[in-house]
Every structure is written in C-alpha cells, then in structure tokens.
Amino acid sequence: MKTSWLDPRTKLVLAFTAAVILVSLDHWLILLVTAGVIWGVTLPLNLLTSWFKFFRGLGPAVFGFFAIAWIAFDLSTALVAGLRLMALGTVFFLFFQTTSPKNLSKALVQMGLPYAFSFVLTVSLEFIPVLTRRAANIRDAQQARGIPVGGGLRAIRYLPALLGPLLIQAFKLADEMAEALEARGFGAAGRRIRQELLLRAVDWGIIWSSLIALATLLFLKYIYH
C-alpha cells in the first residue's frame, strides 16, 4: 500500500470527477489520451508493476467488452467501450492502492456516514485474504478425499463442496466476530477517532478544481450544446 499525501476525501472527489469525465467522453482518441494521462499517474507513484498484476485480472473483461461491442456495433464504439473500462478500472486501482481501508473509513465517518457502516466496509476488505486462505484450505481438504474441485467441468458439479463449507465458515466467522466486537466495546457510546484527517490547502485546491472541471464539462456537454 502506497501512502499518499492527499486526503482520502480529496481522492474520492477526484475519482468521482474522473469517472464522470470518462463516462461522458465518447470519442476514442480523446479517451485514449485521457486514459494515457490517468495511466501515467502510476509511474511517479511506482505502481506500474502492481498495475500490470491488476490488469491481468481486468484485461479479459476489457477485451471481452471490446470484442462484443465490435461485433454488435463498430470498431470505434468498441474502442470507446474497451478504453473506458480500462481507464475506469485504473482510476479505482489508483484510489485503492493509495488509500488504506482505515483512512477511507475515517474519511467516510468524517463525511457524516455512521461509524458502524464504514467499519463494516473496512472489515470486509480486511477479511478478503482470510477467506481466500480458508477457501484454499477447503479446496485442498476436498481434493484430498477425491472430490474434484480443482478445476475443469466436473468442478462445477461439485461446487457445493467448495461453497458450502466456505459459506458456513464465513457465517460462523461473522458470528464470532460480532461477539468479539461486542466484547471489545464496539457498541460503546463516545468512540474517539485518533488522528482525525485534515483537509489542507492543496486538498481544497484539488477539490475545487475538480468540481469546476466537472461543472464546466457538464455545462459544455449538456447545456451549451
């Protein structure tokens, strides 16, 4: 996780602005330039290697989207669809790579969201690796007694052998967590957040610039036209 000098709220506004701009651009060349600029941000942040890893997951979706749009419409629509998905993915990649779940949660609470809600969001993110590990254990345990859950068509038939124990364990874990949270004072009134986040001048600058850019774009696209 790269730490970032921007406040998570600033980055939320930035990501939102970028997403709206990407959705409203509909020429492939302009999209290509915009996507290039967004992608370029990975370089100074030293995130290029992680981005390639991320793109290995997103890539098939981008190409699938591209291929379907090409078959259904034409090449330029397909380019727009593919580039837009890739650029949107990169925006979210940048946001989550530079924002810890804890800071995101703090930001959301300071923006007025109830603590319980933002806490659930953070904890869910923390528990993804735990459940992934459990899923791997379950897969091994089932394969060890001959149930083919490793892959291939037969694995689909035995999907319950993988999902059943995983769901049961996830529910059990959630139950135990709820109990442990209760015992650690989750329900206590007057919770204090250490080190509250502060919006500095640079944050305000970026927030206002983003909002102005957003307003200008919407004005040009929908009202001026």
Binding site: T122, V130, N137, Q143, A144, R184, G187, R192
Partner: protein, 556 residues
Amino acid sequence: MLLSFENVSYRYDGMEDWALNEVNLTVAEGEYVLVAGASGSGKSTFCRLATGLAPHFHGGDLQGRVLVDGLDTREVPVSQLFGHVGLVFQNTDAQLFNRTVEEELGFGLEGLGLEPAEIKKRLQWVSGVLKLGPFLDRSPHQLSGGEKQRVVLGAILSLRPRLLLLDEPFAHLDPEGSEVLRSLLNTLRGEGPAVVVVEHRLQEVVADVDRLVLFHQGRLAADGPPRQVLGQELTGYGLNLPALVGLFRNWGLDGPPPLTTMEAIQLLASGPPRRFSQTKRTKPREEGSPPSSLNSNDAPVVEIQDLWFGFPGQPVLKGVDFSLWPGECAAILGRNGSGKTTLIKHLNGLLKPSRGRIMVLGRDTRVTKTHELARRVGFAWQNPNDQLFQTSVREEVLIGPRILKAYDPPWCERLFERFGLGPLLDRSPFRMSEGEKKRVSFATALAAQPELVILDEPTAGQDEPFRRELGGLIRELREEGKTVLLVTHDLEFAAEQAPRWLVLAEGRILADGTPERIMADSRTMAASGLRPTQCFEFFQRLREKPLENAHEDFLA
C-alpha cells in the same frame, strides 16, 4: 470480590438443558485461576456469563446473579463492562478487525473514548509488555498463531481490565508459543488483573495457578488449590490430566500429586515411602510398541528423496529425505511455520516438489493426480469444517469412496460403528458438536481404505476420552498394517503413539529417531522449539540421580 457467581443457572435460547447449573464461584483480586472440564462441561458459557455476553448478546435464560467488579451483568450492558473484564476468545482470526497491529491495540481504547495522549501511553506500555514493537505496522492476519494471540491479548490488556479471561488459549499454539504465553501470564500476575484461564489441557498452566476449578456437565465439580483438587477422584470428568499426575495415579500413589518434575522427584525422595494402594495400581501403558506386522522387507509406503519446495523468494522445504514403512506410526514435529503442512500436502500431490522426488506406494507424485492418490492416502485435517457439505453424515462419509470408486459397504458399516456414528447417520453434519465432527472427519479419511493415514493436529482442542479413543484407533490401524503419520504439537500424545519422530525446523529434517533419543538431544529440541515431556524429564532425572529410598519397582 472481582467476580462472583451467585447460584447461577443459564440456558441458551431454545435449549431445554441448562448449560450452567446452580454455580457458586468467586474470583478475588490478583488471583490466577484455571477452569477445566471436558467438552460441553460449560466452560465457554462461564466465560460468556462473566463478560455479560450472556445474556446480552446470546439472550437465553439467566437465573441467579453474576457480579463483575461489583456490577450486576444483567443490569449493565457489555459496552460498559468491557473496561472491567476482558475475554480472549479461542478463534484469534475473529478478533482481529484492523489493518495494523497498532490499530488493533488501540481499537478498544478508542471505544473507551480516551484522550489520544493516554491511548499512546497505553499502546507503548502494552507493546512493551507483550514484545509487539516490531509488529506494530504489520497486518495482524499475516502473523503466526502465537503472535496473533499476543496481539489479541494486547488489545484486551490495553483496556486495563481488572479481570482477564482466556478461553482455551493454548489449543493451537506450538510448544514455544505456549511457553511464551505461559511466562506472559505469570508476568501479568504480579501486575494487576486477576487471570482466569479456561483450558482442556491442564498441563500448560496448572503448576502456576492458585486455584483449579472443575466443571462437569454444567455443574461446579471441584474448586480449590490444584494439588488438592487433583488428589481427588477425577475419573469420569474427561480431563487431560498432566502427565505426571496421570503417572502417579497409575502407580496408585495417594495424596496430592506432583505438578512439576522437581516436585515428583521430591515426593519420591521424601521417604519413608508413601502409601500406595495395590488395588489402584495399574500397569503403565504399553507405549508405541511396533506391531508384529512391521517388516523391514516390505516396500516403503512413502519414499521422499531430496524434496525441495518454495514460493518465489521463500523456500519452505529444503532437501527433505525420509521413508515410511507399513504399520509404522511417525510424528512430524516442529514450530508453526516450519513446513509441516507443506510437507504433508506433498504426500497426495496437492503440492508438487520443485526439486527431488516423492514415491507414495510406488507412484511418483509428480506425475500422479491427487484424486488417484486420494484412494491410497487418507487425510483428517485439523478443521473438520473444511469438508462438511452434505445433508447427512452418511452421505458425507460415503461421497469420497463413491467418487473414487472404492465404496465397500461392509467396511463403511464397520467405520460407522467404530466411530459411534450409527445413531447420527441421518443427521446433518452441521448440527453436530465439534468432537462429533472430528469423528466424522476421521471416518471420511478412512472411508476409501487408504494405506497411509495422515492426521493433522488430531488432539487440538479435544478432551481426554477423545484422545484415548484416538490412541486406540491408531493402534488398530497399525495392527492392520496401515501407516499413520501424525502432525502435532502435542508431544505427550506423540510420545505415547509414535515410536518414531521426525523433527522439522526451517524446512529441514533436523532429527529422525525415537522420542527418547530426540528428547535427550537438548540441541535439537531447542533448535526446533520443542520441550521434552514431563514424564521423560522425570525419568531422565531419576536415571541420572537414582533415589535411595524409592520403590525400585516404580522405576523398572
């Protein structure tokens, strides 16, 4: 009194039976208490009642009164009790909600609404006491079992509770982790909170505590100084007695039993000889004798040659060599993270060696598929919940052999009988107790009649009746010529059942030999984080310095 149970009975919602029945109990300031009992005796319910989780979180029917630090738990919510009483639960994963260890330690303090300066002060204190300094920036989920437990303990201790409860804290620790926790608890003892440890395994802390409380079927069965309680008749309570206590009882010696090796020596030396009743005297167990079928002319069941395995930049196994023979029972021992699980996953091809070769019953695992090996190699994993997905116990056990085309009805019927599953066959495996699930997982492992049976931490969290049953099963399997491989931290059990130990440290086999030879080798034991069993220490000291007035026939 810090904690007082006044005639407390409690039952969970929708249950007819009382989980705790007319219990009267107090814990005073600074006391160190061990609460013991078999599975289902009411130990965990006791913890929930003492923290107010029952009835506030679990609902249910509470009769009598529980007072914590003077507060009636029925009247005061958990969110106010948590600063007075802290509970470390069994499952550490479920108690780590934060991204870093530092955030985890501060979580409860933020809940208390303390000033940032005070939070900082307490964090420094607790990370110093529990030696968590190097981990503060790391994710708690990436730590080892023992380290995670220290983080959870720290998160509770930072709240400065006056009463600290730990529910089976030793169940999943390796011997070294247990030792660290044990000395931590001893340190805490002088520093303030009363400590209550709830454990199956008395041996870990019984020598340190002031009081031993026994629960049996929801009732308080005994309460007093440990030597006094352990001197009473305890059969039927399903306790994992400390090895020396068991030994002295087998010898029929009356009176308070010894809790440490030194005490045992002193007891024997303090002649004139203590009275021991001939009637109670039983022959010591025959331990680990190889079955007659063991024959060195047989082909090996497993042959591992120069096995290397690792993840990028992280070698796990580094040149492992050994063979296993028909009818043999061997135990793989070592720290958490020494490569034990990685090693056993090679035996059915779940993992393939990056260098070297493994032959299992004449098949090269590099080119044999896991489902082919599954027919010959049975696994019972530590967590039986990893496998359960069928609607009945019968289907759960039979699905493996059916897929593997190895279904033999008479054999499976015998298995059902062997594990006492007959009355449970049509029940959902999800509605069973953890002990029953474990029995289902053993039946599952054996259902396809494998020649090699691998048991991963089979005794973790299990009570004495289960251990006895398991010991019987292992002996039966060996008599049938099957090979049993144990992976365990439970050295007492390993010494009883496995005449051969394989000690793994940092991916290498550090020692391969009899338990006696390995336990006598203090360098190997230290390098692999193991400690000799109490019985071994006791007999070794006697051999080194024989007692003049001891009964010769004890030592024969």
